[in-house]
Symmetry: C2
Subunit: 180 residues, 2 copies
Amino acid sequence: MRVEVRFSGFGGQGIVTAGIILGRAASIHDGKQAVQTQSYGPEARGGASRSEVVISDREILYPKVLRPDIFVVMSGEAMQKYLRDLKKSSIVIYDSSLIKTPPARGKPYPVPATLLAKREIGKTIVANIILLGALTTITGVVSREAMEKAVLESVPRGTEEMNKKALHIGFSEGERLVKS
Amino acid sequence: MRVEVRFSGFGGQGIVTAGIILGRAASIHDGKQAVQTQSYGPEARGGASRSEVVISDREILYPKVLRPDIFVVMSGEAMQKYLRDLKKSSIVIYDSSLIKTPPARGKPYPVPATLLAKREIGKTIVANIILLGALTTITGVVSREAMEKAVLESVPRGTEEMNKKALHIGFSEGERLVKS
């Protein structure tokens, strides 16, 4: 009933945006409850970035993520830092163009998001959107329709087509991983 | 030691962005701890928007806002909805170009943010930044320097000057209200 999602990477990768988009997709478009959080501690000044979303069918009384069911990770440092919070069943979707070693815990889903963003779109900035697409088809925690609406209403005006393309690359990557 | 801040208004006013900017200002630039949250319940589908920030010198164990010390409000609906959570000592910074009646609780600080944004900058979208400026000089919860850095790094590229101008209008509005 309750799904805990954590995003982490370094500053400038769109980690906070990814959390906001997932929160909106789940709540406004899929009709669930969602709480989305950024915690800034002393580590924030080191360039690390973290964003969390709790999704539930019922009211969310405790909004913090303790043991993520889904972990989306965009830097080796973040992987190391949060590895110990993972469960055996945690789904780990990681940017395999930036992180070469699969996680030692959880179920690994490698998506070369930054590489695909650069090669297919020409902009690494949409790597976060590719990962959101992969998250959608791997986990089913939100519907494709909800995710697409949330992406399109959250990105800067004029970048909708580019982001839609990135999202669909992510949908396909996720499908490929689930089937393989 | 712990300061609870709530922003509320309707969708498209930059409520979520305001919360993120305040969280970054307090933490990354002022060296405090901060947790920034968006809660989406059934009301999110009605167009209401809410964003919260807890700021502290110590680790924040409970990230929800129950009784805001500072309430920044951009719609009459949001004012009505959250009025009951206010304390006598709560600072209420409200967009007086959109809300004509001062709050029945707390200490009122009227800032005609949307009107000023339109008249001085030609864009109502920066009203949230004007309110962040006013919050800074009214409450002192973050420094001007921290707020300015957080604004400039959070807004879309190419809009820095416009947002800086909006922030400084807010600083002046806040100062004016504190002195009066």
